[in-house]
Symmetry: C2
Subunit: 483 residues, 2 copies
C-alpha cells in the first residue's frame, strides 16, 4: 500500500487551491471549440496556455504536437478530407527511480460549442462560481479534470519529499476530442515510442454521484455524421408543386424516423454485427447500483425514459449501441408559415458503439442504408466526422486496484464500478500502446456535459486532486500487472 501521508497531501492542497482555481478559470476563458473552424486560433491558444502551465508545474519536457500534418500515418485522415488538425500537448516527467513504471495521463483541452442563447445563465466562457459549483464550458469536460493533475502531482511531491514523481509521468492532452479525435489514432501511432507506458489513466469520465464514488471500466465508442439532402434546386411553391415532387425535408425525416424500429432498436441493417452482449453476471452488477430512475430523469432534464426494448436505462446508456438524431434542419424555420417545398435538408446523426462493433463497418452500413432509402430526385452526401473506438478494462487488473485505493483514500468510501456511455479515444491508446486503460474521473451526471450551464463541483474537483496525489505512489508499488 502507498505510504504517502494523507494529512500532508491535504495540507498542501488546501494551501494551493485558490491559485489552482484562478489558473483553471484563466484556461476556461479560452473558447477552444474544436468543431468550429472559426475557433481554430482559440484551440491553439488553449494548447499554448496549458504547455506553459505544465512547464511551471515542473514537467521538464513539454511539447506542442501538431496533428494532421501529413506524416505517414496521417494519410488515412488526409484521404478522409479531415485536413490539418488541432494541436495536442505532451509533457513528460521522469521518475528518477530505477524500474519505476511509466504512466500516461490522457485528457483533452478542446470543448463543445456553447453560446449564451442556448440557455446559459452566465457567459459559458466567463467562469462563475455559485454555491461551490464552477460554471463554464469545459469545467467538467475536460479542462477541470485535466487540470487536477497539475496540483495533484505537486501535492504528491510535497507530501513524499520527492523531487520527481514516483512513476515516470507522461501527459497527452489532445485538442480534437469533441470533434471525434480524427487525427488522434495517427498521432499516437506516429508517437508510440514517446508515449510508451505501462498504464494509461484517462481523466475524461465521471462517477456515479456525489455520494457514490465509482471507477469506470468501459466506454462506448462513437461515430457521427452529417447527411445533406438536395431536392429541388431552390425552394418551390407547395401549392404549385407540392405532392408531386420529392421533398428533402420529408426524406430527412423519413431517414431519421427509420433509424429505429418500433422497439426502438437501431434499424440500420448490420448495425448490431459483432456486439458483445452483456452477461447475466454483468447485468446483476449493474442492477446493484443505487439507481433511482426518477432522479436520473431529473439529471437528464428529461420527462420520460425511452429506449431499446428489453434493457434497463443503465444498460441502454452504458452497454448498448445506440443511434441519435443530434440535429435536423430543412426549409423554413422563421416566424409564421411559408408554404414551400424546401430545396435542401440536413441530418446530423451519432452512433454510440460498444465492444465488438467495427466502426468502419457501421459507417458502411449507414451509407448503404441511406443510399437505399432515398427516392429518385433526392441527391445526398454523407460526411463522417470521425470515429472513437469502444473499450472495456479488465476488472481484476492491479493498476485498476491502485486507482480504486487512491480514490478510496481521497473519498473515505467504498469505490464501486460503472461504465461510461460517452466516448473517448481510450481504446486507441489501449490498442496502440499495449497498455491497460484506467479511468479516473470526478465529474457527476448533473455537470451538464455538452449542455448549457456545464459545471464542476469544487469539492469533487479537489478530491480529484487528492486522488491524483495518492495514485502515483500506489501505482509505483502495486500497479504492474503480474506483480
Amino acid at each position: 500500500m502507498s505510504n504517502t501521508p494523507d494529512t500532508a497531501v491535504r495540507a498542501y492542497i488546501d494551501a494551493h487551491s485558490a491559485a489552482f482555481l484562478d489558473d483553471l478559470a484563466e484556461w476556461l476563458r479560452i473558447p477552444s471549440v474544436s468543431a468550429d473552424p472559426a475557433r481554430a486560433a482559440d484551440v491553439r491558444r488553449s494548447a499554448e496556455w496549458l504547455a506553459a502551465k505544465l512547464t511551471e508545474t515542473g514537467f521538464p519536457t513539454v511539447e506542442i504536437w501538431e496533428t494532421g500534418t501529413g506524416s505517414r500515418s496521417e494519410e488515412t485522415a488526409a484521404a478522409a478530407g479531415t485536413g490539418t488538425g488541432a494541436p495536442a500537448v505532451f509533457a513528460e516527467w521522469p521518475s528518477g527511480t530505477p524500474g519505476a513504471p511509466t504512466v500516461l495521463v490522457y485528457g483533452h483541452h478542446d470543448v463543445q460549442p456553447a453560446a449564451l442563447e442556448d440557455g446559459w445563465r452566465t457567459d459559458p466562457f466567463e467562469p462563475t462560481t455559485v454555491d461551490g459549483k464552477l460554471y463554464a464550458r469545459g469545467a467538467a469536460d475536460d479542462k477541470g479534470q485535466v487540470f487536477f493533475h497539475t496540483l495533484g502531482v505537486r501535492a504528491h511531491l510535497a507530501a513524499t519529499g520527492r523531487t520527481a514523481p514516483a512513476v515516470n509521468l507522461k501527459l497527452l492532452i489532445e485538442g480534437e476530442e469533441e470533434s471525434g479525435s480524427p487525427h488522434f489514432p495517427a498521432l499516437i501511432h506516429d508517437r508510440a515510442g514517446r508515449l510508451a507506458c505501462d498504464a494509461v489513466i484517462v481523466s475524461d469520465t465521471g462517477m456515479w454521484s456525489e455520494d457514490t464514488p465509482t471507477v469506470c471500466t468501459g466506454m462506448r465508442g462513437l461515430t457521427d455524421c452529417q447527411i445533406d439532402l438536395y431536392g429541388p434546386d431552390q425552394d418551390i411553391h407547395s401549392g404549385s408543386f407540392g405532392g408531386a415532387v420529392p421533398n428533402p425535408a420529408t426524406e430527412a425525416a423519413r431517414l431519421a424516423a427509420a433509424l429505429h424500429d418500433g422497439d426502438r432498436r437501431v434499424a440500420v441493417p448490420g448495425f448490431y454485427d459483432g456486439v458483445v452482449e452483456l452477461t447475466e453476471a454483468e447485468r446483476e452488477l449493474l442492477a446493484e447500483l443505487p439507481f433511482d430512475e426518477k432522479q436520473w430523469l431529473r439529471t437528464a432534464h428529461s420527462h420520460g425514459a425511452l429506449g431499446e426494448s428489453g434493457y434497463s436505462t443503465l444498460e441502454r446508456v452504458w452497454a448498448r449501441p445506440t443511434a441519435e438524431v443530434n440535429g435536423i434542419g430543412g426549409g423554413y424555420q422563421g416566424p409564421g408559415g411559408k408554404t414551400i417545398v424546401p430545396s435542401t435538408a440536413q441530418l446530423k446523426l451519432s452512433f454510440r458503439l460498444v465492444a465488438g462493433q467495427d466502426a468502419d463497418a457501421v459507417q458502411d452500413s449507414v451509407r448503404a442504408w441511406v443510399a437505399a432509402a432515398l427516392p429518385e430526385g433526392i441527391r445526398h452526401e454523407i460526411t463522417f466526422w470521425g470515429t472513437t473506438r469502444p473499450c472495456l478494462t479488465p476488472l481484476d487488473h492491479p493498476a485498476l486496484q491502485s486507482v480504486v485505493r487512491a480514490m478510496g483514500r481521497a473519498f473515505g468510501q467504498k469505490i464501486r464500478f460503472t461504465r461510461e456511455g460517452g466516448s473517448g479515444p481510450a481504446a486507441d491508446l489501449q490498442d496502440v500502446l499495449g497498455a491497460p486503460v484506467l479511468f479516473l474521473g470526478i465529474s457527476v451526471p448533473s455537470d451538464g456535459w455538452h449542455a448549457p450551464n456545464e459545471k464542476v463541483e469544487l469539492d469533487l474537483l479537489m478530491k480529484g486532486v487528492e486522488t491524483a496525489a495518492y495514485l502515483w505512489g500506489d501505482l509505483a508499488e502495486n500497479g504492474r500487472a503480474g506483480q
Copy 2:
C-alpha cells in the same frame, strides 16, 4: 360581344406602360411580408401606397380596412389567438349606367418572406428588369397581377370614351393572404353589404404557359400549422443519456415521416373524408393539356417526380389533397458535429385541400394524430396559422365565358382550362357574397412564386392589362348568369 376597339386599347397601354412599370417597381420596393411581425409597418405602408395609387387611377371611393379589430365576426379569429390583422384596401367606382352588373376584383398586397441569402441573384425588394422579366418578391404573387387592373381600367375608359367603367367596379386587396388570410372570412362577413357583387374576379393565379393561355376553374384550399415538440429541458449529452430518453428531433422526424404511407398517400386518419374525387371526364380533360413532365420538372427545379400512387402529376397538384413538410428543425445545425439529445424540435406542415374537405375536420384529425403519435416525455403544441377553403367554378357560367373572350382578344389564341394547386380565399368570397368566382391570372409556372428570384414576364403582364381593359365591357353585355 364587346365593342371596345382593340387598337385604341393597345395604343393607350403602349403610351402609359413606362409610367405603369415605374409605379409597380415603387410598390415592389415595400417589403410587405405578412408572416413576419417585424414587417407589420411595411404591410401597412404597402396598403397606404396602393390606396393613394387607386385614388390617382380615378376610383372615387378608396378606403383602408383594418382587420382583426374585434368586430362581432372577428371573435373566432381573436379566440384563435391571431390578434390584430394587416390592413386591406377597398376601392369602388360606380358605373353610372343603370342596371350595370357589379364586379369585385380580389388580390393581395402582402408577399412571402424573401432574403438575399435564400438564393436571390438580386435584392428581392429592389425590382430588376432583365430580358423582359421583372424580378422582385411579389412581381407575380401578387402585386403585378393586382396592379394590371389600374392601367386596365384606364385603357377601358380611354378606348370607350366612358368616364366610369361599364360595370360597377370594386376592388378588395387584402394584406394577409400569404399568412393564410386569418381575418379575411370575418372581414368579408362584416363588409358583405359593401362587397355585394354579381361576380368575383380573382387575379392571383397563373396560366398553363407563355404559349398556352388558360383560365383556371378551381383552387385547392390550405391549412398549415407549426408543431413544437419539447423533450429534455435543455440539450443533453448523447453519450450520457442518448438511447434512454425520448428525442424531440427524432419524434419530429417520425411525425413528418408518418405523414405519408408507402404509396405517398397522406396517412393522417380521416384526412380524405369527403374528398370530391375526379370524374373520368375531368381526368380526360386534364390529360388533353400539352403536359411535358420533363419540362414541368425543370420548372419545378426538381430532379424527380413523386406523389400519391395512381394519379398523374397534374392530378396530384391540382385535384388531390396533399401534405407537405415546409420546414423542420431541431438540435444542432451549425458547422461540424455536436453529440447531443436536443431539447426541442419544430415542424411546419401545410395541407392542401380539395372540394368536399372540411378544414376544421382536417385540423382536428391532425391534432388527434399528433397527440396519439408522441411518446411519454415529449410535450407538444400545435398552432394552425389559418385556413383557406378550396373552390371550384362551373365551367359553363356566362361570366367565365366573358373572361375567356377577353383573354382571347388580348392573346389572339384559344383559351384552355386548368386548375390551380395553390390557394386563395376565393371560396370564402363565393360562399359569403353568393357570387361566382372567376380567375384572371397571367403568371406562368416559371415565375417562382414563394421561391428565390420571383419574376413576372413583362409581355404577359401587359396582356393582363389588355384583358382587364376588354373584360368590363364584355361582362356588362354578357356576364350575368341566366341572361
